[in-house]
């Protein structure tokens, strides 16, 4: 009898537990934007993917050595005691995203969080971040800084026509090449390919140099978003297609097969190093090899120039200014790009959002405004250059840097942005897998068919074109 009673009790408690649990998954809280507005002791945390002494060092040092002391001082004059911490790590974007996503699920996340603009859609749809006017209030829209931010850049921080965050700036994809290796292979220093054919021809010429990987076009799942952003999407744009058009995602179309066919020519034709694409730290290694004159041509964003090869970058190249050349990414053939363009590119950028769970929404906004002032933005750059969010700052800082003024003048007018939709990460994962298949030895046609099937499974047949 006793045993039966125990069992009944156990079953009952299990059931109760299950019922309690079922109420917990994914609840969203509402809160008051004016909470703690008059607090005298304020604690704020800034979360970023940067680390003093590691990745994005400039950003980390700026936060720790300028933003924190200056803002603390400014607030002290107003009689408010502010303590700001920098929760900075320097890791792969995918790992950082996982950290941020987990942080948002708890109450310990930062108050101001730096995220890649392309993650905005899924975080916004999940309620992990909310429109600035909800979190802070309507005064957000009257910030004078918005006038300085171009619409295309501001769109990085917006979802469904609502502002969620302030962008840090933008970037562009180009083809970087090593002029020293080009000279040895008999190629011009002012190289500008006008078709994919031109690129593979140059790679064939570079192949003669011993110990040199002619061409690296990011591929595979280990490279995560870098595969999609630096390579697949610009190539796809060069065929005249966009990954998201007329309410449908690009399926295994002829254009997609053409992109995968270029991968096949490069990686199965000995023009690129397939092993590098599959290593767990392949992208970091490609940076290192480029800086050591071991890679001829590399598709990358301007981050390579300002954050990797620069003196304080992760793989400094002493003779960067003379040895590194850059060119626009050509369409498959002249005029075959999106909107009939001859050259194409892709852009993105990080944004800073305010965590809706912050204890101090008003103070967090004040800090965010402070971090995005013209002065703060200029200090962030120091003597380096970057395409920032602010036109007034860009006008001053870009003139001194030939590469970044090239991006601002030549690339931004022809570039495209990724669709900030919640399904995008699934599509990106499918694109990475398709290139991984080709690098691993499958044919472009097979990989394209597998991609079509994966897309139908990921987003539904109605949302996929072609096949």
């Amino acid at each position: 009898m006793r045993r039966t009673a125990t069992r009944t009790a156990a079953a009952a408690s299990t059931l109760t537990m299950a019922l309690v649990l079922s109420g917990c998954l994914g609840q969203e809280q509402e809160s008051d934007a004016g909470r703690n507005a008059d607090a005298k002791d304020v604690t704020l945390t800034i979360t970023s993917n940067s680390d003093a002494g590691g990745k994005n060092e400039i950003n980390a040092r700026w936060i720790e050595e300028w933003v924190i002391p200056e803002f603390t001082k400014q607030q002290k004059d107003k009689g408010v005691n502010v303590t700001i911490e920098h929760d900075g790590i320097g890791v792969d974007d995918a790992d950082y995203k996982a950290k941020v996503a987990l942080d948002f699920g708890t109450d310990i996340g930062g108050d101001i969080v730096e995220i890649d603009g392309i993650w905005l859609g899924e975080f916004a749809q999940g309620g992990q971040i909310r429109p600035l006017t909800d979190v802070v209030g309507d005064e957000v829209d009257s910030w004078d800084g918005w006038d300085q931010i171009p619409d295309a850049v501001e769109a990085l921080g917006a979802f469904e026509d609502q502002r969620y965050g302030i962008p840090l700036g933008t970037d562009g994809r180009v083809i970087f090449f090593n002029k020293k290796l080009f000279a040895k292979a008999g190629l011009p220093a002012d190289w500008q390919p006008t078709s994919w054919e031109d690129i593979t021809e140059a790679a064939v010429a570079l192949k003669k140099l011993p110990g040199v990987v002619p061409l690296q076009l990011n591929a595979g799942t280990a490279m995560t978003e870098a595969t999609t952003m630096q390579a697949v999407l610009p190539l796809l744009a060069g065929t005249g297609s966009e990954v998201w058009a007329d309410g449908k995602w690009q399926g295994g179309t002829d254009d997609m097969t053409a992109v995968l066919d270029l991968y096949q020519r490069i990686y199965q034709g000995g023009l690129g190093d397939p092993v590098l694409q599959q290593e767990a730290k392949g992208r970091d290694k490609s940076f290192e090899m480029f800086s050591q004159n071991k890679i001829g041509i590399l598709f990358e964003g301007d981050y390579l120039w300002r954050g990797v090869l620069s003196a304080d970058g992760v793989a400094p190249m002493a003779d960067r200014d003379t040895a590194v050349g850059w060119a626009k990414i050509p369409a498959r053939t002249p005029g075959s790009g999106v909107d009939g363009q001859d050259f194409v590119s892709m852009s993105g950028g990080s944004i800073r959002v305010i965590n809706p769970k912050t204890e101090f929404p008003q103070q967090a906004w004040e800090l965010l405004e402070f971090m995005n002032s013209a002065e703060a933005t200029k200090v962030r750059l120091g003597d380096t250059a970057q395409i920032t969010q602010r036109d007034d700052v860009n006008a001053e800082v870009l003139t001194g840097d030939p590469m970044l003024s090239f991006v601002a003048e030549e690339i931004l007018p022809i570039t495209r942005f990724r669709p900030g939709l919640a399904d995008y990460p699934k599509v990106s994962a499918a694109l990475q897998q398709a290139t991984a298949d080709v690098v691993a030895g499958r044919s472009a046609a097979e990989a394209s068919a597998a991609y079509q099937a994966a897309m139908v499974k990921a987003v539904g047949e109605d949302a996929v074109s072609g096949g």
């Binding site: 749809q125 280990a222 767990a280 298949d437």
Partner: protein, 301 residues
């Protein structure tokens, strides 16, 4: 689990400790509460998440829906899950059941008669690989197997082989054998001490070979140890996340064992519901493996 064998159901036989049922319950209840809190509760929680479409971000993170057995059906139909299950099997068989077991026994057997000094040195070296933190070990192995200037490439004179990319599973099996052999070695060392020396003497005097001695004299004595050891290391290996630090499941899923697959689905892909369902399947596989071993152990006695 804690029930007495059904044959003895009288009150006295159940109260073997002689302290009364009420007191016995009082004594075990702290342990049961801990087990409930940290084992039963998370397991039920996992099963619950496993029947939803809960995600880390996006709409399903706000309002997850119950999808019943949908995740389980999808897993059984997912080529990547099949791949992960197969690789886990290869990993467990290769590195635990065969690798650690045999190497551990061989070391214990050979060191039995060795000089104490030599024995201590070898044992400490083997133990080192077991007690070092995973992250440190992973770093050392990447340095060993790396394509550019890796130690192994330099030693065997074939630089340029990216072991972790070209032979990912073989590398992981060797790595995990190296990593976990210490436990088997220690367990077999003490098990061998329990083999009566007189029987070994007898075997030697009738001219039995080394293998015959192991098979006919030693093995019957340590059969229980072999089963226990194999059970423990199989379960540890099946659940081991170490491979992630070396290959992250790559290249192209070629070394994605179940724990890595679950992590990839749960965190980078954000599919918490699906990952929870696969976790439950891994739990089931573990339970089946344990049941088989326990059955074998029971047969022995």
């Amino acid at each position: 689990m804690v029930d007495a064998p059904p044959a003895r159901r009288t009150g006295r036989a159940r109260d073997t400790a002689g302290i009364g049922v009420a007191r016995a319950v009082t004594f075990v209840s702290p342990a049961l509460v801990l087990i409930g809190l940290f084992l039963v509760f998370p397991a039920l929680w996992t099963i619950y998440i496993g029947i939803t479409d809960y995600t880390l971000t996006g709409t399903a993170s706000v309002a997850p829906k119950i999808v019943g057995l949908g995740n389980f059906v999808e897993a059984l139909d997912d080529a990547l899950f099949g791949n992960a299950l197969w690789l886990t099997l290869v990993f467990v068989l290769g590195s635990a059941v065969i690798g650690q077991n045999f190497l551990g026994f061989a070391l214990a057997w050979l060191l039995r008669g060795a000089r104490p000094a030599l024995r201590r040195v070898v044992e400490s070296l083997v133990l080192m690989s077991w007690i070092l933190p995973s992250v440190v070990v992973a770093y050392l192995w990447i340095a060993l197997l790396d394509r550019d200037g890796g130690t192994l490439g330099a030693l065997i004179g074939s630089p340029g082989t990216a072991w972790l990319v070209e032979y990912p599973m073989a590398s992981l099996v060797v790595f995990n054998t190296w990593r976990g052999t210490a436990f088997s070695m220690l367990l077999y060392s003490s098990a061998l001490a329990a083999v009566p020396p007189s029987q070994l003497e007898t075997a030697r005097s009738v001219g039995a070979s080394g293998w015959q001695t192991v098979r006919d004299v030693v093995f019957p004595h340590i059969r229980g140890h072999v089963l226990t050891n194999t059970l423990l290391i199989s379960l540890w290996t099946a659940n081991d996340f170490g491979p992630f630090l070396l290959t992250a499941g790559g290249p192209n899923h070629a070394s994605e064992t179940l724990p890595v697959f679950i992590y990839q689905q749960a965190v980078p892909s954000g599919r918490l519901g699906y990952a929870a369902a696969v976790s439950v399947l891994l739990l089931l596989v573990n339970l089946v493996v344990s049941a088989v071993y326990l059955l074998l152990l029971r047969k022995r006695s």
